[in-house]
């Protein structure tokens, strides 16, 4: 069975759990004491991931770090429809990859502001908040036009992709880093749509949508 080195309130761990739930992939969670224990920087875990980051997926002798690499692996292996990560459609796959990089930028901005406010990391919080606002402006504009021309997902088409899953958590948790979503009404409607994906599940700070 797949094992996931995991932390319940990490947005990057949550996006992997979320996709596994949606795809119906059974897994075993191995929780680490990220805060305040810093177990992800312990000797035993650095032997598994020298970057000291969560999540890490382990399946038999195969070990994979980086949440987006894990999303790509899971979608490619377990989604027979090939819609979550469209390996048969190079254009759409290119778009998904573009938004996966964008999701990394969201983590480095909105996710970092949350580490500052909620986990007391030392950084220039105002700087990362400004970066997050710039990213959210681009996201809101993209989603507004996607609502008019498509079905409101990040990549054109009628179905969500792992791009939506990758961007979702640190957008939803942004207020824990002091980043209001008041100026981003199209983002707010998109988060409602993500919550309606069959199999959607919550984490602390991210609630269910309407039935």
């Amino acid at each position: 069975m797949i094992k996931l080195y995991d932390y319940e309130i990490s947005g990057n761990c949550y996006k992997v759990r979320l996709l596994m739930k949606i795809l119906g992939v059974p897994f075993e969670s191995i929780p680490l004491d990220f805060y305040p224990g810093r177990e992800h920087k312990s000797d035993w875990f650095l032997a598994i991931n020298p970057l000291g980051q969560l999540p890490v997926l382990v399946e038999d002798n195969f070990c994979l770090r980086d949440s987006h690499a894990i999303l790509i692996y899971l979608a490619s292996k377990f989604d027979e429809s090939k819609t979550w990560y469209p390996t048969r459609d190079p254009v759409q796959m290119g778009r998904v990859n573009m938004w996966l990089s964008f999701a990394d930028a969201i983590t480095s901005a909105a996710g970092a502001a949350r580490l500052h406010d909620s986990f007391f990391y030392d950084m220039d919080a105002e700087q990362v908040r400004r970066q997050a606002h710039r990213l959210f402006q681009i996201l809101d504009e993209t989603l507004w036009f996607s609502e008019q021309e498509n079905d409101g997902w990040l990549c054109p088409g009628v179905l969500p992709t792992i791009a939506d899953i990758a961007c979702f958590p640190y957008v939803m948790l942004s207020e824990e880093g002091g980043i209001s979503r008041l100026p981003y009404p199209a983002i707010r409607r998109w988060t409602d749509r993500v919550k309606k994906i069959p199999g959607f599940m919550i984490m602390p700070g991210i609630f269910n949508g309407p039935e």
Binding site: R130, L182, P183, P185, R189, D192, F207, G209
Partner: protein
């Protein structure tokens, strides 16, 4: 910010999709704006009367709005609390009510006013049948900075309604003073458009406004 007793737009009609609770703000008052099961629009103070949690993170159940924190339900129309999950057999007290603002739908927008007098103010008269709205812009700046930027592309009809400089661009810009940090600008197109033309014009005007307001985000450091 202002003491004018008048209607302001709070969001586009189209943004109140089924099951959604929009978050808006007017003159420092946070708002939860939602459409109920029969299509009626409600503009409520964005605050649960129980513990003050924002209702915009709650659930639009159609006949009621449910607070996220303790699951209290507030009825459409009255804003009266009708259900408290921790005391399911109790009838909630009559004073457990959400503070409501008067709402209206006109020109493709949702409107409200902050009651500074007893009377209901006059709805602004625009030379539009039923406006077609383009993408709204929410700017992170005070009013004077926004007006400076808006002056590059438009001229005022009154303090809150502007008209494009270009005679060939039939757009009115309606200002929504949110608070000291945010001002929203809603774009109203005068005339009929096919869906295809509307998308094309939305893209073109969105790009033009983004450019006109770029100085604001450069000054605040949001845009490098």
């Amino acid at each position: 910010m202002t003491t004018e007793h008048r209607w302001y737009p709070v969001c586009r009609t189209q943004e109140l999709v089924a099951g959604h609770v929009a978050q808006s703000q007017i003159l420092g008052h946070e708002l939860a704006v939602w459409r109920d099961h029969i299509g009626q629009v409600h503009v409520w103070e964005n605050r649960c009367p129980h513990r003050g949690v924002r209702l915009s993170i709650g659930l639009n159940l159609g006949e009621s709005l449910q607070c996220r924190y303790h699951g209290w339900k507030f009825a459409t129309g009255t804003g009266q609390c009708i259900h408290i999950p921790a005391h399911p057999d109790q009838t909630p007290a009559e004073n457990l009510q959400v503070t409501r603002f008067r709402g209206a739908e006109k020109y493709g927008l949702i409107w409200t006013f902050v009651p500074l007098k007893d009377s209901i103010p006059q709805m602004p008269e625009l030379p539009l049948a039923d406006g077609i709205t383009l993408r709204s812009h929410i700017l992170q700046a005070g009013l004077s900075e926004v007006l400076d930027a808006l002056g590059k592309i438009a001229q005022p009809i009154d303090a809150w309604i502007w008209r494009d400089h270009d005679q060939h661009i039939p757009i009115h810009y309606l200002l929504q003073p949110m608070d000291q940090r945010f001002v929203a600008i809603h774009s109203l197109w005068g005339g009929y458009l096919t869906h295809k033309d509307w998308i094309e014009i939305s893209r073109r005007e969105n790009a033009r406004l983004t450019l006109a307001f770029r100085s604001i985000d450069v000054r605040s450091g949001i845009t490098p």
